[in-house]
């Protein structure tokens, strides 16, 4: 009953919520057989959730999955594999100490003796390697292979299990440009052999280079479908970032004073030696908000960690009020000196969800003498401070004894902002101040930030919401792949900023 026109995969009305987060809203997606289909969107747009549903990691609250026209139920990854769906994860699911062959067989051992399965796998591995030009030594230890080859093993593993449709989640994040090119050639061959490839990415260039069709997701919804040949980088960037209703924030022009934060040539390399922050320099002055725009994962988080003293930079200097603080690595000292920090990840860093609100509301400031002399922590003082801040920031419910986890995202964020702003800092570093926060709270938070600026404080704002950056910032810095792509005025149009965020400079786009 299936003919060649039947799509490989159809997702119909997929809906998924995680608590208050609506990760997928009524998503419809059709993926043609023998094509490379790109899914693009910012982090948190719902791409990975959608693919996890397709691969059986999550089950959708609503909706239907059809494989080759037939409705199927996918409850686990083995169901997905049985329906010919394979997935290559961003973080490889390989056993480092096993050989390539053993990894490929993993999950398809077939019987209590491993010998026959290995022999069979060796044979088909050879076959696959020839067919798709994917040469890998079957006896090599996976942990000793370079990342590019490890990824190839992942692909071979999926093909060995009979995958007709291959999902790749941000496959080039860990690859060098050369390796990425090779991967694209392999994907091209897979398509030519009639396989279907789904490519999840937030890199526009990859989409343009390799896909046949592209779906753009934003905030859990599919916002656009394009034929790659008939679109361009600009259009995609716009769809991805979105022309959202600009939240208007009343503000006067800034009156910047002296330099408070001076970041000079800061580089931070991760354990693998990859520069996550790459030679970044900028300044923040009194009475201005400097916004750092960028798709998340482009070094903003690491930059914030360096400035707030959580990590030490690999090289470069950070001056705060004239003092070189770069190599100190002491967040408490910096807080004493007037550097407050609202972290990007509110749930995992900003507060401790198992603590009551009062205790979360002193996180990082618990050393203060006003909370108890010497080693003591005065419970009454802690609760009083929280009560005061809750009233001031209109936190609901205004109960300092309630567990932090019980507050909504917006109210949790208000607790954190209150904690940091009420310390009267000279510099406030804010990461994603309104992520997962309701509209009312967003407005409130924006007003408080502007008010703080008007008091003559310096603010460094990092957000993946371009609207937020544009409406709050007095200057905008765009980061991509750890580097500063450029500095722009807040009036700069979205398209230009979107292109910068996607790593495309004006020269490239022309």
């Amino acid at each position: 009953m299936t003919d060649a026109r039947t799509p490989a995969i159809e997702l119909i009305g997929i809906d998924k919520r995680f608590g208050a987060v609506h990760a997928n809203k009524d998503v419809n997606l059709t993926i043609g057989r023998g094509s490379i289909h790109g899914i693009i969107g910012e982090n948190g747009a719902g791409k990975s959730t959608l693919m996890s549903i397709l691969f059986g990691f999550y089950s959708a609250d609503k909706g239907e999955i059809r494989v080759k026209g037939e409705t199927v139920k996918i409850r686990s990854s083995s169901d997905a594999i049985a329906h010919g769906i394979g997935m290559v994860h961003q973080h490889f699911m390989l056993v480092d100490t096993f050989t390539v062959l053993e990894n490929v067989v993993l999950g398809a051992e077939g019987g209590s003796l491993i010998g026959p399965a290995l022999a069979k796998a060796r044979e088909s591995l050879k076959h696959l390697a020839e067919e798709y030009e994917m040469d890998v030594d079957p006896d090599a230890i996976v942990g000793e292979l370079p990342v590019g080859l490890q990824q190839r093993v992942e692909i071979l593993k999926a093909l060995f299990k009979g995958a007709e449709t291959l999902i790749l989640d941000e496959p080039t994040g860990v690859l060098t440009p050369d390796e990425a090119d090779h991967l694209f050639r392999i994907l091209g061959q897979l398509r030519d052999q009639g396989k279907t490839v789904i490519l999840i990415t937030h890199k526009l260039r990859e989409i343009m280079a390799i896909t046949d069709r592209v779906t753009v997701m934003r905030r859990g919804e599919v916002v656009a479908n394009f034929e790659t040949a008939k679109t361009n980088v600009g259009e995609l960037a716009e769809a991805m970032v979105g022309r959202r209703v600009l939240l208007h924030v009343e503000k006067r022009p800034s009156q910047p004073g002296e330099v408070v934060l001076d970041v000079r040539h800061v580089t931070w390399k991760d354990r693998k030696g990859i520069a996550r922050v790459d030679d970044v320099s900028f300044t923040v002055r009194k009475g201005e908000i400097v916004g750092i725009a960028g798709v998340s994962g482009n070094g903003q988080s690491e930059l914030l960690d360096v400035i707030s003293g959580i990590t030490r930079p690999t090289s470069g200097e950070v001056f705060f009020e004239g003092k070189n603080i770069g190599m100190m690595g002491d967040p408490q000292y910096l807080r004493r000196e007037g550097l407050a920090h609202v972290p990007e990840d509110r749930q995992h860093r900003g507060l401790i969800t198992s603590f009551d609100a009062a205790e979360s509301a002193i996180l990082g400031w618990h050393f203060e003498e006003s909370l108890g002399k010497g080693f003591r922590l005065d419970r009454d003082a802690v609760v009083q401070r929280c009560t005061r801040e809750m009233a001031d920031f209109d936190v609901r419910p205004g109960n300092p004894l309630l567990k932090s986890a019980k507050f909504s995202g917006g109210n949790q964020q208000k607790i954190i902002l209150a904690r940091e702003i009420e310390r009267d800092p000279d510099l406030l570093i804010v990461g994603q101040p309104t992520r997962g926060v309701d509209i009312g709270a967003i407005e409130f938070i924006h007003k408080r930030l502007i008010a703080l600026r008007d008091e003559g404080k310096a603010i460094l704002l990092v957000s993946v919401e371009l609207d937020e950056i544009r409406s709050l910032s007095d200057r905008i810095i765009v980061m991509f792949a750890g580097k500063v792509m450029g500095e722009r005025e807040p009036g700069t149009n979205e398209r230009e900023l979107g292109l910068l965020m996607a790593g495309v400079t004006a020269k490239d786009a022309a």
Binding site: I310, H341, D345, R349, L351, T353, H366, F367, L377, R379
Partner: protein, 364 residues
């Protein structure tokens, strides 16, 4: 209305432990039945043996004193996210501190020697906890593995030391001579010396009240000091702690030292208060019982005191039972205690899903 998946407090700290205890006793009853005894009678003997007489109560509280110390030790570490299995070894090594201080300072009056010996117990225990803490913090060696290993090291080391250093020449028993300088009198001895009153013979001594004080001190440390805040922050969410400028490595080492020090106070009860000498293997598993006590007491000092009393009851009742019923020998008692520990500790969560399903059904 409570959020889905979260049981109200009374179920969590009351019903579940009691249910676990009940099941443990039920299975123990089956075991007793298999060896041909009446389980109800056995339970009655246990209960009567533990709480039916002054002597029973004395032993119950004396055992509970040990369990309060070791339970608190496990709980403090647990609040920093560390699983200290080494209470046994820490308490054992602490006996060395108590003995060295007690024997070498005999010439001083007791009000001076006893505090020094208590401090020495804590310091020796703290050292034995600090080293695994250091290895975890600086070398990444897992605390569970190292603390277990340190139990073995402590055991062998103490056999050697007691045999070759402390055992008086010509003495057959593997133990030190009497520690007369830091001699904590039992309540029975006090009654006789000061009031000329004859009490039944029990080793219960003032260390019991010291243990209650330490329970309060642990509560104060964890919930009323900045260090306690940092300990709990590291245990609850290391990332958030790092953001707050807390150094988890430092907290791990400090916490393990505190934990070991508290475990070490068991030596005060045993070496200074009951045995009055350093005896081979004197800890007798109290360090491991502490794990069950801490789990059952939900790592809260009040819960730990209550759980320690329950285990004290089981110990004393079990001893009485093995006297009364020769068929139920000492080993059988260990099996019963083991079952209680199994259900209270390892299988602590067994009934939770079932109970919460039931609970929310009723609520709907």
């Amino acid at each position: 209305m409570s959020a889905k998946g979260e049981l109200p407090g009374w179920v969590d700290v009351g019903l579940i432990p009691l249910l676990n205890l009940f099941v443990a006793l039920l299975i123990s009853g089956v075991v007793v039945l298999i060896i041909g005894e009446n389980p109800l009678e056995a339970m009655w003997i246990m209960l009567k043996g533990a709480v039916g007489s002054i002597k029973g109560w004395g032993y119950l509280l004396y055992y509970a004193t040990n369990f309060i110390f070791t339970g608190l030790a496990v709980a403090v570490a647990f609040h920093a996210g560390l699983f200290n299995i080494g209470g046994e070894g820490q308490a054992y090594i602490a006996g060395l501190g108590a003995t060295i201080a007690g024997l070498s300072l005999e010439f001083l009056p007791w009000p001076i020697v006893i505090p020094i010996a208590v401090l020495a117990s804590a310091l020796f225990g703290a050292f034995w906890g600090f080293v695994p803490g250091y290895l975890q913090a600086r070398r990444g060696s897992h605390i569970v593995i190292t603390t277990i290993m340190f139990n073995f090291i402590a055991s062998s080391l103490m056999v050697y030391l007691i045999n070759y250093w402390f055992r008086p020449v010509g003495n057959m028993a593997v133990e030190s001579r009497e520690i007369s300088g830091a001699y904590i009198m039992s309540f029975r001895e006090m009654a006789r010396v000061f009031f000329d009153y004859r009490m039944p013979s029990t080793p219960l001594n003032p260390t019991f009240f010291f243990a209650l004080f330490i329970a309060w001190a642990v509560w104060y440390l964890l919930w009323r000091t900045k260090l306690g805040y940092e300990i709990r922050a590291v245990g609850a969410n290391t990332d958030a702690a790092v953001y707050a400028g807390i150094r988890p490595q430092r907290i791990i080492m400090i916490t393990m030292a505190i934990s070991g020090g508290i475990a070490g106070l068991l030596a005060v009860n045993e070496v200074l208060g009951a045995q009055h000498r350093l005896v081979l293997e004197y800890v007798q598993g109290a360090g491991f019982v502490g794990i069950a006590v801490a789990l059952m007491g939900r790592s809260h000092p009040v819960g730990i005191v209550l759980a320690a009393l329950l285990f004290g009851l089981l110990y004393q009742g079990g001893t009485e039972l093995s006297f009364a019923k020769p068929e139920i020998n000492r080993d059988m008692i260990v099996v019963i205690q083991g079952l209680v520990i199994l259900f209270m500790g390892a299988l602590e969560q067994t009934f939770r899903p079932w109970l919460s399903a039931l609970f929310f059904k009723v609520e709907d």
